[in-house]
């Protein structure tokens, strides 16, 4: 009887040690194997990476070529990722080369004001449904209508003061740069 209990204890200890070792050696697998993992552990892979879908069927008068479509999608998505990062960390340098003109000036001003006030903001879980509505005859100007959904979090000195899921409509102007499409204007509107 005593022997049995001892065996059971040593078996449990072995299982525990094996589990701990497994966890140390393969942390990713261990997390995935745990069904009741905590919300922090089971956070989405990257909640700041925007999801962007681009529809070009309504663009005109010039048709958007496939290569242009891919480039615009890539560059617009990247611009949003960087904009979010810049607003979160109050680093206007992150916008270099992606935003130009008014878009760059406005966002830089917002970031500088945030920094002065000790605030920052985050745009999490972004989903963008983007329609290209105008592509100029010479291909040097593109207007997008972006219906963006995200969780807007505003913090003051690290304390969250606002957390709201918002749907915002953006009118965006993009122009081709040397090696990418740059955002020149990004203006939110009540509706399209």
């Amino acid at each position: 009887m005593t022997t049995n209990i001892g065996n059971r204890r040593s078996f449990s200890r072995s299982v525990l040690v094996a589990f701990v070792l497994f966890g140390v050696l393969f942390p990713g697998l261990a997390k995935a194997a745990r069904p009741g993992a905590s919300p922090v552990d089971s956070a989405p892979p990257d909640s700041s990476a925007p999801q962007v879908a681009l529809n070009i069927t309504n663009a005109g008068p010039r048709a958007i070529e496939a290569l242009t479509e891919h480039a615009v999608l890539r560059d617009y998505k990247f611009a949003w990722a960087r904009m979010s990062q810049a607003l979160e960390t109050n680093s206007p340098d992150l916008l270099n080369g992606l935003l130009e003109g008014t878009a760059s000036v406005w966002l830089s001003d917002e970031i500088k004001s945030q920094r002065r006030a000790g605030m920052n903001s985050r745009c999490l879980n972004q989903v963008h449904k983007v329609d290209a509505v105008f592509y100029s005859p010479e291909g040097d100007l593109l207007e997008l209508h972006d219906t963006a959904e995200y969780d807007l979090q505003i913090s003051d000195s690290g304390k969250m003061i606002h957390n709201q899921h918002v749907v915002v409509h953006y009118v965006v102007l993009m122009t081709p740069g040397a090696d990418r499409w740059v955002v020149r204007q990004i203006q939110s509107v009540p509706q399209f």
């Binding site: 917002e110 605030m119 606002h162 918002v166």
Partner: protein, 300 residues
Amino acid sequence: MSWSINTRCSIRRQARWSLVAASLLVLAALASAQDVELRVPSTVTAGQAAAVTSSGSGRATFYLLGPSTAMKRDAQLGEQILLPAKELQAAGRYVALMCTDTCSSAAFFVVAAKPASLTFVAHPSRAPVAVNDVISGVALPFDEFHNLVLAPQDVDFQMSAKGGAPVSHKVQTKDGVAWFRASSGKTAGPLQVQASINDVIARRVVQQVASDPCRLRINGQRTSKGIEVATEPVRDCSGNPVPDGTIVTFTAKGDGETSTVDAPVKQDVARAWITADGPVVISAASGVVMGNELRVGGGK
């Protein structure tokens, strides 16, 4: 025993009352915290001051986050908070927050003011004459704070060439953009292209240049240096002289041999020297146009 029961009852009653009182206090605190109501204007025109009001009383912190601003200031609940025009220049969505223990929020939009400038792009910088839909222009109205004006505006596109009557075309902006496409005129020279909204005007110049040569005629004669061959003034189908540098290719055939020489047009004429002793047949071509054939006899 009876005393003991009374005491227990009274303790229970006291505990119940304490619980009720505590609950009421919590509810009151929650109610007072959630009662702060922010009233913001539905829309504000860019560059105009606005006011935000709140209900309640006591000290609070006010925040405003917009497309080019983030501000924080102490505020008194129940009093009007003035938002200076300088803070409301960028069009877009603004979030106002009033925080005590908890925060209340409200959003409003700033919309563009009236057009103060036109971004106007005209293409191409040089356009051949008499070509359909070769000239295009895109105009975008912006207000004085560089906001894109999205409310429909009538843009008047006007094109005028030297000596010709101006041609006007009105287009209403859609989503902040107006555009046109037009054919080039028949005369080479500068074409003034203008876009205007009331007194806001943007001007561009498109240089209309001759199209491809329309017909080629060549003349030639034997000289001591060889055969000098030259075109008559080279013009397009509208009669405009083609630009200098347009290449004319001369081909000479004779004695079973063919030789070619490229000559640029200079002051309307292309000229070349061909060395051949025997009789030759010389022809000329430029672009898709062939010229006449010229027969030159032998030099001996």
